[in-house]
């Protein structure tokens, strides 16, 4: 982790590329039905940066609103989930799998919506668990 740290990522087909500057704020996991349905994954993972750290260097993601608090952004050519962009706040949440160096990200520090965890999905001892979201349980 240096002052010049930066990470790059993009979708599966390469139509969309992005760069994020500086270290991430946090890494999280989400068991909620919306994240699960979008990604197809049993355990979606994401990385959060300050919004001004993100620069889209190629292409333009499509957006879809499934809740009234945020827009989900993805590649219209290959479907890859890319960003979860809250209407409020100054953060941007990036789906971990879209990063070129996903394996270099820090371990997750928290998980959301554990009420919906599937029985065979492993537990992550030592990370902060929310039955739903912070402030909701």
């Amino acid at each position: 982790m240096t002052a010049n740290e930066q990470h790059t990522g993009g979708c599966l087909c390469g139509a969309i590329r992005y760069r994020v500057a500086g270290p991430p704020l946090r890494v999280g996991l989400c068991h909620c039905g919306q994240c699960r349905r979008e990604t197809g994954s049993a355990l979606p993972s994401f990385v959060t940066w300050p919004r001004n750290a993100l620069e889209i260097t190629k292409g333009q993601p499509a957006g879809f609103r499934v809740s009234d608090v945020a827009t989900r952004q993805f590649c219209r050519d290959c479907g890859s989930p890319l960003f979860w962009r809250a209407d409020k706040g100054e953060d941007i949440t990036v789906f971990l799998g879209s990063l070129d160096d996903a394996e270099a990200m820090p371990k997750p520090s928290y998980e959301l919506w554990t009420d919906r965890r599937m029985h065979w999905v492993p537990k992550f001892p030592g990370i902060k668990s929310y039955r739903q979201e912070p402030g909701r349980g």
Binding site: L12, C13, C35, R36, R37, E38, T39, G40, S41, A42, L43, P44, S45, A62, F64, V66, R72, F74, C75, R76, D77, C78, G79, S80, P81, G97, A102, E103, K107, P108, R116, M118, H119, W120, V121, P122, F124
Partner: protein, 92 residues
């Protein structure tokens, strides 16, 4: 942790809408929703099976636990190894 459930194509029916397709390899097609990008199906060319991304099912928690895991060489270090789910040979 990407997860999928394999069914025979004979039992499969698309109930509404249409899907977009993308080929990232020369032996399979990935299909997704053009409106929201959701990952839906992985179809190997010529196969009579299709893989459905688990998260797209209405009741994914009713699916049996996975019986195999593939590409464990690329498992991210903090993801538990889950030895109770045997690995396939690399690349298979």
């Amino acid at each position: 942790m990407v997860s999928f459930v394999t069914f025979a194509t004979t039992g499969f029916e698309l109930l509404s809408g249409s899907v977009l397709s993308y080929r990232a390899s020369d032996f399979a097609t990935r299909q997704f929703c053009g409106r929201c990008g959701s990952a839906l199906f992985w179809r190997r060319d010529g196969s009579e099976e299709l893989d459905i991304f688990l998260g797209s099912l209405d009741r994914p928690e009713e699916m049996p636990m996975p019986q195999k895991q593939i590409w464990t060489r690329h498992r991210i270090a903090w993801v538990p190894a889950q030895p109770e789910i045997p690995p396939f040979k690399e690349g298979s």
